[in-house]
């Protein structure tokens, strides 16, 4: 085993220096590193060299190589992006990037609440800031994303109610539905609840008919994946509670400056994604999930994720943090284990905390209002184009909305190809996920879209539908 073929030691491997290596071997009392692998039998040894590309040990060469590949990407910076669907383009304050780039946070991991006190405090503050936004007393350290948060939320409901069936609204995100189904199979049964085709909102009669004392919870999203606001939340929760089931709501936290939080309409467990609170779109890498509940031990006991609590130290006035842990003293019949927990998305949690601290109450309200106004403007202008209807559902919407292109005679694919030529990323093609809607797309308008951006979209679509043909 030798350093690079060019005889140079790699900057990431200091003890590769032959003299140092030799000294260490000597101190250990062996002749070669190979002796250290004595426990690995011959037949398991990888005999040849790893067949990987020629390395680029010089930083400059590496940079150029990677940048060259990345230059093949077109970005949301150089194009106007109207895609949403679980990952949204919001403005990321410079301070958010500043903080999550700090080495101290970036490279910390599992230290104690002494030398890593800053990490604990930052995450406790995130929990606390989110708690104000969602108006609940317990929020967890982030999990992977909304898919996981929703999956865990429904399993928590299963454990709390000791029932094995859950109901899910059929207008939730298909990705989340897929994840929840995988998470429930085979222990928990999943049943869908229909929506009203006109408004998109839940079909309450269908919910009533499916709700029973075998059901652990109803899970729905607000705003829905399809963008409309579900205003029957109180009734839905009531129907669930009447049968002893829980109301589990998935929410987009950027809406909570103007839309009332689910805890105010009977939600027992609230989940969602914090990506919109200070994370770049990152090709889907900025996701992070949250779960919130009331501060009741039946709920707190069921969280698989870490919960940081604030406490004292031996010095008066000093804050310390640690894991909250409630002891289970009695095993209930057929009780199930508490899921798993591991490295998930802590840095994004800290970032979301920074975002909320910067925005403050006024900022979140203004954000919500701005998004409402801009998206409504977009919907109105799009509807003025012949053959296009926005929104499809007759309900108020937040941020996202379904645009109906059926009467244009064009497929979403063709429309989006055309838009791309105009440096616009058109809305997500829903024709595969929701075939009953036909040629519809999911458009997302946030505070980053200027009137110009929206007008540009409208112009392009106008040309398309009226220009050629």
């Amino acid at each position: 085993m030798s350093p690079q073929k060019n005889g140079k030691v790699h900057p990431y491997i200091p003890n590769s220096v032959p003299e140092i290596k030799a000294k260490m071997l000597e101190e250990i009392g062996i002749n070669s590193i190979d002796e250290l692998y004595a426990d690995i039998p011959e037949n398991l040894r990888f005999k040849r060299e790893l067949d990987l590309p020629e390395p680029l040990p010089s930083e400059y060469a590496l940079k150029r190589h990677v940048e060259k590949i990345l230059s093949k990407n077109r970005t949301c910076k150089d194009n106007t992006n109207f895609l949403g669907g679980g990952c949204w383009q919001h403005y990321v304050p410079a301070i958010c990037d500043e903080i999550n780039q700090r080495s101290e946070f970036l490279t910390a991991y599992a230290g104690e609440p002494y030398e890593d006190h800053g990490r604990f405090q930052a995450l406790f503050e995130y929990q606390s800031l989110m708690a104000e936004l969602v108006d609940m007393d317990v929020v967890n350290v982030p999990t992977y994303d909304w898919c996981q948060a929703a999956s865990t939320s429904v399993r928590m409901a299963v454990r709390i109610t000791k029932r094995n069936t859950i109901l899910i609204s059929d207008t939730v995100s298909p990705e989340r539905l897929s994840a929840i189904k995988n998470y429930c199979r085979p222990v928990v049964t999943v049943q869908m609840v229909n929506h009203c085709p006109k408004t998109g909102m839940m079909d309450l009669d269908d919910l009533k008919s499916k709700m029973s004392s075998d059901v652990a919870c109803i899970y729905f999203e607000n705003p829905s994946y399809l963008g409309f606001i579900e205003s029957q939340g109180q009734i839905i929760s009531g129907i669930a509670h009447e049968k002893g089931a829980l109301s589990v709501v998935g929410v987009d936290p950027t809406s909570l400056g103007v839309v009332v939080p689910p805890s105010n309409y009977g939600a027992d467990i609230v989940c969602g994604d914090i990506q919109g609170l200070g994370m770049h779109v990152n090709y889907g890498g900025g996701l992070a999930g949250f779960i919130a509940t009331r501060d009741e031990k039946e709920f707190v006991m069921e969280y698989p994720s870490r919960l940081f609590g604030i406490t004292r130290t031996t010095v008066e006035g000093e804050y310390g943090f640690g894991d909250v842990a409630y002891e289970r003293t009695s095993f209930a019949h057929r009780e199930e284990g508490k899921e798993f927990v591991g490295t998930a998305a802590a840095l994004w949690g800290i970032t979301a905390g920074v975002y909320l601290a910067l925005m403050g109450p006024e900022g979140m309200q203004e954000l919500g209002k701005t998004i409402m106004q801009k998206s409504q403007y977009a919907m109105k202008k799009l509807s003025e184009i012949e053959g296009i209807k926005a929104p499809l559902f007759e309900s108020p919407h937040f941020k996202e909305f379904v645009v109906d292109f059926n009467d244009t005679g064009k497929t979403i694919k063709d429309i989006n190809t055309y838009l791309l030529d105009n440096n616009i990323f058109g809305g997500k093609d829903l024709s595969i996920e929701f075939p009953e809607l036909g040629n519809c797309a999911l458009y997302c308008v946030t505070e980053i879209h200027t009137k110009e951006d929206i007008d540009h979209l409208v112009q392009a679509l106008t040309c398309l539908t009226q220009g050629e043909e």
Binding site: I13, P14, D39, Q148, G342
Partner: protein
């Protein structure tokens, strides 16, 4: 230079909780104004929301001016000991290696940050190429046939493995297979994820040498076995030479074998999943492959499988048709999704760049030096009074070692937690072990390849100093830390529902403090 004991003091700002910085009316950031023309067309925008759904009471977030927010979080960051700042050998199993800054820079470029996952494939060929290429690299490194980066961490990858194992047997109609076998030194998530899927869990315990014997496995495996989940080398740093026999036994009974390669750092290029007989394996990109730990994520559990199991993988895969890269959703037996979209792209990029920087030889050099560093430390720690390295007497270890302070505790009353607290006074971390503590008073050290000999010597010197103090003046060690950010924490409130406070508002309520 002879390693010294630093006269270290960690930054200590006595920083209030963010809510305490609030001053009514202050603003941290302003968002773009809505154009007058838009306002004219749609009005205030909020009135269309039904009355009962409008938020009237604003969230009680703090109001803080911008510089104050920055200052607050920068101070918190100073009170955190990232791997970039200290000789981070003491976080065993975590593989705290160097996360190259060039990779950070690359991941912050527009072409990474400003990509939306639903963009047309032709617009993201760069991203897809990187994902595809990393997949190819890992295939070579492990011998598996296909990789996905969808799981958001090691535990998520474990769950994906269990999901695939379950789906596999389900499709074959063998639903009576209701048992998963794992070992006590494997990650607790192995048992936990199996339980989510309704499996019974059988945990194998090691013999006096710290190794799980074949005889033990035979007792656990039957035609009810769905699969085996195992880490190798285990968190003790010991490689189980019977591993291929293990997988054979499980296969003979119709089960599948999943390899938790969280401890891959010492064996890159030395031994692979494939030859050991595994059907599934995963790597932590944020451990072995240098993506930063981020205080606990975001992360990627890169999951690989053999040809037979490719169709079960979560969708989509990143494929190449000879001309272009594309997202392949055509997996007939897919378990569905385990996470939104395709994976944490910045982490994938960093892993790609790290491998490109080192190449095959470099990866092997990293592994072998990590093992050299670890055995060097093993020799030094065994010389420290009060410390022992249980199991595998006289044998070398792979990339980490689980040690024990049991003797120290017996002779001085100082426990592993006490030592950890005192090490913080010198700017070091020291991790014990996952619970349960099979090894009494454990501590686990994993140097990786990133630290130089003098840095390692500095850490050892620190350990020695604390041990010296333990024998001379145990009280001093027991009441540590003194030079860290805060003093001894009172944990007693944290398990009492009346007293715990998981959020600031809860704290104010329970302790009747005016906010």
């Amino acid at each position: 230079m002879k390693p010294k004991i630093r006269n270290f003091h960690q930054a200590k700002w006595d920083e209030p909780i963010i809510f305490e910085l609030s001053a009514k009316g202050e603003r941290g950031i302003l968002i773009p104004e809505v154009e007058k023309e838009i306002e004219e067309v749609v009005g205030d925008g909020v009135s269309v929301i039904p009355e009962n759904m409008i938020r009237k009471k604003l969230p009680a977030l703090p109001e803080i001016a911008q510089m104050k927010v920055l200052k607050h979080y920068l101070r918190l960051s100073q009170q955190c000991l990232g791997a970039d700042l200290n000789v981070d050998l003491g976080q065993g199993t975590c593989t705290m290696k160097y996360s190259p800054k060039i990779n950070e820079v690359l991941s912050r470029s527009c072409e990474v940050c400003e990509l939306h996952p639903l963009q047309e494939e032709s617009t993201v060929q760069g991203a897809l190429q990187i994902m595809y290429s990393l997949g190819e690299f890992l295939k070579e490194i492990s011998g598996m046939n296909q990789f996905t980066f969808q799981p958001g961490g090691g535990s998520s990858a474990i769950f994906a493995m269990v999901s695939i194992i379950h789906a596999y047997h389900d499709f074959k109609g063998e639903s009576e297979r209701d048992e998963i076998v794992t070992t006590i030194f494997s990650h607790p998530s192995d048992a936990a994820a199996a339980a989510v899927k309704g499996y019974k869990v059988i945990t194998l315990y090691p013999d006096e040498n710290g190794l799980v014997e074949v005889e033990a496995l035979k007792k656990a495996v039957s035609n009810r076995t769905a699969g085996l989940l195992i880490t190798n080398p285990e968190d003790t740093g010991i490689f189980n030479p019977s591993i291929a026999e293990f997988t054979e036994i499980v296969h003979d009974h119709g089960g599948l074998c999943g390899y938790d390669q969280a401890n891959a750092n010492g064996i890159l290029g030395v031994t692979r999943s494939k030859e050991a007989g595994f059907d599934l394996c995963f790597f932590n990109l944020h451990k072995t492959f240098s993506a930063p730990h981020g205080c606990g994520g975001p992360a990627v559990g890169a999951l690989g499988v053999t040809e037979e199991l490719v169709n079960y993988l979560p969708v989509p895969l990143v494929d190449f048709d000879g001309k272009k890269y594309y997202l392949n959703y055509n997996l007939p037996k897919t378990i569905g999704k385990v996470r939104g979209f395709y994976g944490v792209f910045p982490a994938i990029l960093k892993a790609y760049a790290w491998i490109m920087s080192l190449g095959g030889e470099g990866l092997k050099e990293a592994a072998t030096i990590a093992v050299l560093n670890n055995n060097y430390i093993l020799k030094k720690v065994k010389e420290i009074k009060g410390a022992t390295a249980p199991y595998a007497k006289g044998r070398h270890r792979i990339e980490q070692v689980r040690y024990s302070w049991e003797q120290l505790t017996k002779e001085t009353g100082v426990t592993t937690e006490d030592v950890t607290c005192r090490m913080a006074d010198f700017g070091f971390h020291l991790w014990s072990s996952h619970h349960p503590w099979i090894v009494p008073q454990p501590f686990t050290i994993e140097p990786t390849e990133s630290y130089s000999k003098d840095e390692i010597d500095e850490y050892i010197t620190g350990l020695k100093k604390v041990v010296e103090e333990a024998y001379e003046n145990p009280e001093k060690v027991k009441n540590a830390p003194y030079n860290s950010v805060i003093h001894k924490i009172d944990h007693s409130t944290l398990d009492d529902p009346e007293k715990w406070a998981i959020t600031w508002r809860s704290y104010l309520k329970k302790y009747k403090i005016k906010g």
